[in-house]
């Protein structure tokens, strides 16, 4: 790889990282405002115009707080856990294509940090590693509520990971590739070439599983403020606590982007040929991607303030008795139809 190529990749990494962190801040603001609106309240509206600087104030507050490490914790793991959660959450975004390709000074730049041919596997692997952060935090805290939270999280992991993976398998079957860029290009054309219309069952399963994956309501059993005090992060304070939240929101952003990539055509604008429009097409596709992702992020918040939490056994029932058989059946049918067509 030449030097310029290396610099370009560095710039892309910085841009994606900055955009993700900015989106995390935006999400913290949006969550607080939208939850307030749903409950007929105003939400934070004092810091800056319309309260837009509230996340900065929140972050500053977390930095100023005393960082307490309880005496009974398993120190190395306790310190590792927040990073274990946050780093995979940020790394996952690397393979998601957020636009078609730019052409600058005769050089083609694809709007994606790393175009690896096992993108889907990479994402599945990293999001699963993220759950270890929660389990470790729960276990190393050496306290009953975090332990219960970690335990629930691991139980959630095994009941959802399968259904989610199998839902994606149906997409992979149709595309014939694990590369996310290929999945996006195979959805180009008109609106109904998006996989959400071709694979509605897979989409539903994936969407539900992704809520469990990111520990959001109605599947936030690992946190469950009302029953578990704070769940896995009860013993954490100051910036370590903030890291759990940054990780949660970063995970949501990645999950929303992944949902868009797999089922809503990624950066594709229906009926528009982005490649023919050059750099403007790249810009438009990037905006389309951001808008689609923003919708799914809004959906996260919307769902959180609408549905009550699932009980532990209800979650197991849904995961093992409904979603897993449904996902298997979906693969079976998809495979059958594909065989007949070819």
């Amino acid at each position: 790889m030449d030097l310029i190529g290396f610099i370009i990749i560095c710039i892309k990494v910085v841009v994606v990282f900055a955009a993700t962190m900015l989106a995390v801040m935006g999400m913290i603001y949006a969550e607080r405002r939208i939850s307030a609106f749903i409950q007929h309240r105003l939400g934070p509206n004092r810091v800056g115009p319309k309260g837009l600087f509230q996340p900065l104030a929140d972050g500053l507050k977390f930095l100023m707080k005393e960082d307490i490490i309880p005496a009974a914790v398993n120190k190395p793991l306790y310190l590792l856990a927040p990073a274990m959660l946050l780093i995979p959450a940020l790394m996952t975004f690397a393979v998601i294509p957020f636009g078609s390709s730019l052409t600058l000074f005769g050089r083609q730049i694809s709007l994606q940090v790393a175009d690896i041919n096992i993108g889907v596997l990479y994402i599945l692997a990293l999001t699963s590693v993220g759950v270890y952060g929660i389990v470790l935090a729960g276990w190393s805290s050496n306290s009953k509520y975090p332990l219960l939270g970690g335990l629930r999280s691991s139980a959630q992991l095994i009941s959802y990971e399968l259904a989610m993976g199998l839902a994606i398998v149906a997409i992979v079957l149709m595309t014939g590739s694990l590369r996310l860029n290929d999945i996006v290009t195979s959805q180009q054309g008109h609106l109904f070439s998006w996989y959400v219309f071709k694979q509605p069952v897979a989409f539903l399963i994936f969407l539900i599983a992704v809520y469990a994956e990111t520990n959001r309501l109605p599947f936030d059993l690992a946190e469950a403020e009302q029953e578990l005090v704070g769940g896995y992060h009860t013993e954490y304070s100051s910036m370590k606590f903030a890291m759990f939240f940054m990780a949660e929101y970063a995970n949501m952003i990645t999950a929303a982007a992944l949902t868009v990539t797999l089922f809503f055509g990624g950066w594709d604008i229906p009926f528009v040929d982005e490649a023919a429009m050059g750099n403007w097409g790249a810009l438009l596709s990037g905006i389309a991607f951001i808008l689609k992702t923003a919708f799914f992020l809004f959906l996260y918040i919307w769902v959180r303030w609408t549905f009550p939490r699932f009980r532990y056994d209800q979650l197991m029932n849904l995961g093992w008795k409904v979603m897993l058989p449904l996902a298997l059946l979906n693969i079976f049918i998809t495979g059958g139809i594909l065989t007949i067509i070819s």
């Binding site: 609106f37 749903i38 409950q39 007929h40 105003l42 539903l204 769902v303 549905f307």
Partner: protein
């Protein structure tokens, strides 16, 4: 006669749960645009309804003389024993014979029951609509005769909270 209560049999549509989920989402979406109930307190103040029992005041006659005759009925009626009156013969030639030299209310003890205004034969003590009179010291919540008369001046013509601030 015993009646048979039919239990609700979920239909296929119910068992899918998806339509119900969508219904729920639409409900919260509608609520997002409803009127907000928040009152942004220091900027805008809640106006209590008629009959609200807040801070006390001592009423005056139109000529400026205090209505109170220091009969101590209010102090006797007070379940919290928060009213302290020192009576004296009035300095005026005609009219009432007694008046209070001191009329103190310990607001920390007061339970704002309104018994004092009911007990008062002269309609001298009344509860106003003022609710935000918090203070940093115990002394600050001990209101004397001058203070009570001042509250009367503030509230005699209009509601304390409908008066525009900073004027």
């Amino acid at each position: 006669m015993a009646t048979v209560v039919k239990s609700y049999e979920p239909t296929f549509r119910d068992k899918l749960y998806i339509p119900a989920l969508f219904q729920g989402l639409m409900l919260t979406f509608k609520h997002m645009f409803k009127k907000k109930v928040t009152i942004q307190y220091p900027d805008e103040k809640h106006v209590p309804p008629e009959g609200y029992r807040g801070l006390h005041r001592l009423n005056k006659y139109p000529d400026g003389r205090i209505r109170c005759v220091a009969c101590e009925m209010c102090a006797a009626a007070c379940p919290a024993h928060c009213i302290h009156i020192v009576p004296e013969p009035s300095p005026w030639e005609e009219g009432k014979e007694r008046y209070p030299v001191r009329f103190d209310i310990d607001l920390l003890r007061c339970i704002f029951c309104g018994f004092c205004e009911m007990a008062c034969p002269e309609k001298a003590i009344e509860l106003t609509e003022i609710y935000d009179f918090a203070d940093y010291s115990r002394e600050g919540l001990w209101i004397d005769k001058a203070g009570l008369l001042e509250i009367y001046e503030l509230t005699k013509t209009q509601n304390y909270y409908t008066v525009p601030n900073d004027e």
